[in-house]
Amino acid sequence: MSQKTEPAEFAPGFLWQIALLTLLMLGILFFSRSLFDSSLSNFVPRSGWIIFPWLVAAGQTLLNTVVSYNGAAPMAPSLLDGARVLSALLFAFVICPTVFLLGWRRRRLAKESAREMQQLRLSSVLYAFTCIVSLFVVVSIIPISIASESGRESAREHWPAQLNKDRIIREIQSLAVDIYQYRLVPRSLNGGGGSYRDYRLRDDLSKTENATYSVAVKGDEVTIHAQSIMYPTASVDVEVDSIGTLVLWKYGGNFEY
């Protein structure tokens, strides 16, 4: 094996330049999660994504779904999440491909000397780095497309049923208010006078465009049964207790999941 003792393997300043770049990358690796941490992560599991910003939007959608059950209005992404998305877009889809393509063009046009070719320079490292990130973004689109398409398919399958279920739950809540009002109102005003006895479902409440409803009075409880019109096998059963609270929810058919 020949002895290789030629000087200047590295270009001037290369070592400290690559040291700074490495420190920057280590900073991103270790601190990016805490840097971009926000209220979203209290509800929705968050990962270290930075180059697929649409996942931040997906996380926000999940969060809005969770808070909507409490009756809260949907929230816009926070400033931090906005910064996260913007930096990811700039980094992965603008800066890296641009630096890579410009570097590629420069290499095609410039005729570098043999000495320059032998030296390791930061521009070569950056060229390779941006090449890897750009290639990664391009190649990863395939599994992401497959995964997102299967997710969309699943959502298409479950979404109308979920929508119908949500509407029925909302109507049952209105129904429960009407039932409890009956209990509170005195008999002289056509109420139950402290009892659910003789309660009859009003015609306008017994059938809607979403479901048909029936009630059964059992002492201090009223059982509501809702049969979906859109999904004939799907149903919701729930009880209104003595203080008007809806308890013992049961879902059947398409509403089970």
């Binding site: 003792t5 890897i132 990130v133 990664f136």
Partner: protein, 141 residues
């Protein structure tokens, strides 16, 4: 004489290449692994150990490049850098070390030792391939 020179080069370490190789590992192995973090979840559905495999291949390729690119014989440098890289990966897990029971720690230490040896061997092996490629290129020239 040439053999003596070669063996001397093998033993003397070029710490600049250790540092540069470590930087290459961070840039070309750890960072892409970080980017692929949750994409790895997709791969995990189709086979476990994907991340370790990905990092092993990455370390081998970078080591081969260093072996090929360096003018001297650099085989142990990528090995040492590979061990340093593994230490960097393990650094964030040290905070949860207190939670590990003492009997499990011994098993884990043995596992880590194997992991370090494997990392060193992958680095050295990759660099050896790079040196071999460099020799072939020099002969063909």
């Amino acid at each position: 004489m040439e053999g003596q020179e070669g063996s001397r080069s093998l033993m003397s370490m070029d710490w600049r290449w250790v540092f540069v190789t470590y930087c290459f590992f961070v840039l070309f192995v750890l960072f892409p692994t970080y980017l692929a973090d949750d994409l790895a979840g997709w791969f995990r559905l189709h086979g476990r150990g994907w991340s370790l495999f990905e990092q092993g291949v990455g370390v081998a390729i970078v080591s081969a490049y260093v072996g090929f690119r360096s003018k001297r014989i650099t085989m142990f440098e990528p090995g040492i850098a590979s061990v340093l890289c593994l230490l960097t990966c393990l650094a964030p897990t040290t905070s949860s070390w207190d939670l590990v029971r003492s009997e499990v720690r011994i098993a884990l230490l043995f596992y880590f030792l194997l992991l370090f040896i494997l990392a060193f061997l992958v680095g050295v092996g990759g660099a050896a391939v790079g040196e071999w490629l460099q020799m072939r290129k020099e002969k063909s020239n």
